[in-house]
C-alpha cells in the first residue's frame, strides 16, 4: 500500500493544471514566430516588430503589417531598435561583412553602418539604439556607444572592463521597455567560464555605468522601479537593489520555478505594491511576485501562481518580447501564438481569477 501511495504522489508535483485540461485548452501554434516588438511611434501610429521573416511595420491598428526588411540566408535580422527621436530604425544581421544597418522609413532605404575595426570583434544592438562593442577576444573589454558615435567609440563611448576571460552572458532590457528616447537603461552581465561560472554585472542608467553585485548567479532579467533595481535570476530568485548601493542585494524570495535568460519580467505598480508578472520556463502557469513598494522585504514578498485571466492566454505561448503602451497596458510577442495586447487590473494582477485582466486581445488582433 505504501509503495502504491508513493507511486501516485511522486507524480504531478509541479503541475498547476491537470494533464487533460492542459491538452483540451491548448491552441495551435501560429506560423508567425516573433522575435522582438521593436517600438512604436505613438498611440495607434506605426508599430515595428521583428519576426523570423524579417522586420515589419504596421501603420495603424486597422492596417495589415508590411515586411520592410526580409531576413535572408547569411543576412538574417537578429535584433532591431526604433529611434523615437530620429524616426529611424537600426537593425543587426548575421551578415559577415558589415551587419549593422540604418533604415529610413521615408526613403525605405537601408544604409550600412560601419562597425569599428580591431580590436573590436563583435557587437550587440540594444532596443534603445545603443551599441555594445566587444574588444579583443579574451580581453574582457567592452564599450557602450551611441549609434552615431561608432567611429569615435574610444572617446565618446563608455568603457566597461570586466576583466580577462569575461565574455557576454546577457544584455538585459526591462520587459516594460517603452521607447528609446525615454528608456535609456540596461543591464550588462558578463561571464567567465569555470566551475562555477564567474559573473560581472553592470547597470547602465543612460549616463554612467555602475557596478552591480556579482554574486547573484545567472540573471534572467531585471527592471527599474523608481531608481531601484529588481533582478530575477534563472534559478527563480528575486533580488532588490537600492540605487544607493547596487552591491548590496536584498534577497526577497525564491520561486521554485526556473526562468530562461531574458525571461518576461513585467512590473505593474498599483501605488502600494509592485507586482512582477513572470512566465517561468517549463511551467503551465505564470507567477507574480508582489513586493511592498518603498519597503521591499523578504517577509512581505509574495509569489502567486496564476493560470486564469491573462495567464490562461499567455502561460504557454513562449513570450519573447514585450512593449509597454501605458501603465497597465502592454504588447506581448510570442514565439508560438502571435502577439497580444493586454490591459491588466493593477490591483488584481496577482489574483488567480479572470478579474486580473481588464482586456486581452485574441492572438494577432492586438491594438497599439
Amino acid at each position: 500500500m505504501t509503495a502504491i501511495t508513493l507511486l501516485f504522489t511522486a507524480c504531478n508535483a509541479d503541475a498547476t493544471s491537470g494533464l487533460f485540461r492542459t491538452a483540451a485548452e491548448a491552441r495551435e501554434a501560429l506560423t508567425i514566430k516573433y522575435m522582438q516588438v521593436v517600438g512604436r511611434k505613438g498611440a495607434n501610429d506605426t508599430l515595428y516588430f521583428l519576426t523570423r521573416e524579417g522586420l515589419f511595420v504596421k501603420d495603424t491598428n486597422a492596417k495589415a503589417a508590411e515586411l520592410i526588411v526580409t531576413s535572408k540566408e547569411d543576412n538574417r535580422v537578429q535584433s532591431a531598435a526604433y529611434l523615437n527621436d530620429k524616426i529611424k530604425l537600426l537593425y543587426k544581421t548575421d551578415k559577415n561583412d558589415g551587419s549593422l544597418f540604418e533604415y529610413d522609413p521615408v526613403t525605405k532605404a537601408s544604409t550600412p553602418l560601419p562597425i569599428p575595426a580591431a580590436p573590436v570583434t563583435d557587437f550587440r544592438l540594444m532596443p534603445n539604439g545603443k551599441i555594445v562593442l566587444k574588444g579583443a577576444a579574451n580581453s574582457g573589454e567592452f564599450w557602450i556607444v551611441a549609434n552615431d558615435k561608432l567611429g569615435s567609440y574610444n572617446a565618446d563611448g563608455i568603457k566597461v572592463t570586466a576583466g580577462e576571460g569575461f565574455d557576454f552572458y546577457g544584455l538585459f532590457t526591462p520587459s516594460n521597455y517603452e521607447k528609446s528616447d525615454a528608456n535609456k537603461g540596461f543591464l550588462l552581465s558578463f561571464v567567465k567560464s569555470g566551475s562555477p561560472n564567474e559573473y560581472k554585472n553592470y547597470y547602465y542608467d543612460g549616463a554612467v555605468v555602475k557596478p552591480v553585485n556579482n554574486n547573484l548567479g545567472p540573471i534572467a532579467n531585471f527592471t527599474v522601479v523608481g531608481m531601484d533595481l529588481y533582478i530575477l535570476t534563472t534559478e527563480g530568485k528575486l533580488y532588490y537593489l537600492n540605487s544607493g548601493d547596487l552591491d548590496d542585494p536584498v534577497a526577497l524570495t525564491n520561486n521554485t520555478s526556473g526562468y530562461d535568460r531574458n525571461a518576461f519580467f513585467y512590473p505593474i505598480d498599483d501605488g502600494t505594491n509592485v507586482h512582477f508578472i513572470t512566465n517561468p520556463s517549463s511551467s503551465d502557469s505564470m507567477s507574480v511576485f508582489s513586493v511592498v513598494k518603498g519597503d521591499p522585504k523578504a517577509d512581505t514578498t509574495k509569489v502567486s501562481t496564476i493560470k486564469n485571466g491573462y495567464a490562461a492566454v499567455l502561460k504557454d505561448t513562449f513570450i519573447v518580447s514585450s512593449l509597454q503602451l501605458d501603465g497597465e497596458t502592454f504588447l506581448v510577442a510570442t514565439q508560438k501564438h502571435g502577439m497580444y495586447s493586454v490591459k491588466v487590473d493593477k490591483v488584481k494582477v496577482n489574483q488567480n481569477t479572470s478579474e486580473n485582466v481588464k482586456a486581452i486581445s485574441k492572438a494577432e488582433e492586438y491594438e497599439f
Partner: protein
C-alpha cells in the same frame, strides 16, 4: 454483420482449439484516436480531435502482451505499451499503460475472436511538468487469423478509459476521464 454471425456460429460449434495452459504472445502496433474528455467539476464533455475538443491528434501505440489460458475459452495475462498523441500546440502527450488482461475467446482456431478487458495503471505525461500515474481500463475486441498453427495476424479495437484523479487540492477542478479508441494490427504467436 452476417459474416460475423456466420463465423461466430461456426466457431461456437467447433471444438475448442486451446487447452488449459496454452499461451499467446502478441506484438501490437497501431494508432489511437483521442475520443473524449469529461471534466467532473463543471460536467463538461469535449468530444473529438483538435482545438476546443480533446486538444489532441491521432497518435500511435505499440505494445507487447502475454496471456495463458485458464480454460479452453479464457485467458489471463498482461500488457505493457507506449502511446503518444501530439497536442495541437506541439506538446506531446504520452501514456505508458501496464495492466492485467482477461480475454474470452468464443471463436477460436483458424480465426480467433478475443473479447478482452484490461485493468491496471498508466503513467501519463504531457508538457510543462505535467505527469501523473493513474488508473487505466480498457475493453477490446479482436480478430486474429492464423494461417498455420502458431503465427497469426489480426486487428483490434476498443475503448480505453483513463481517469485523471489529481491528489492535489488545487487540481481537483481538473479531475477528468479521457477516452481513446485504439485501432491496431497484432502479430501473435501461440503454443
Amino acid at each position: 454483420m452476417l459474416l460475423l454471425i456466420l463465423v461466430l456460429s461456426v466457431g461456437l460449434s467447433a471444438e475448442p482449439f486451446y487447452d488449459k495452459g496454452s499461451q499467446t504472445f502478441s506484438f501490437t502496433l497501431g494508432t489511437t484516436v483521442p475520443t473524449f474528455v469529461h471534466f467532473f467539476s463543471n460536467n463538461e464533455t469535449r468530444v473529438g480531435l483538435g482545438v476546443d475538443n480533446t486538444g489532441m491528434k491521432i497518435g500511435g501505440y505499440g505494445a507487447i502482451s502475454y496471456q495463458a489460458f485458464t480454460s479452453p475459452y479464457s485467458a489471463i495475462g498482461g500488457e505493457i505499451g507506449y502511446n503518444f498523441n501530439y497536442v495541437v500546440d506541439g506538446n506531446l502527450y504520452t501514456a505508458v499503460p501496464f495492466f492485467f488482461k482477461y480475454s474470452y475467446l468464443p471463436v477460436q482456431g483458424m480465426i480467433d475472436l478475443p473479447i478482452s478487458v484490461g485493468l491496471g495503471f498508466v503513467y501519463n505525461s504531457g508538457g510543462a511538468n505535467t505527469s501523473i500515474m493513474t488508473l487505466y481500463s480498457n475493453l477490446e475486441l479482436g480478430l486474429t487469423y492464423y494461417p498455420g498453427e502458431h503465427w497469426g495476424i489480426g486487428v483490434r479495437t476498443g475503448l480505453w478509459l483513463i481517469p485523471e484523479l489529481n491528489y492535489r487540492k488545487e487540481l481537483f477542478g481538473d479531475n477528468a476521464i479521457a477516452g481513446f479508441v485504439p485501432i491496431t494490427l497484432t502479430v501473435s504467436y501461440r503454443q
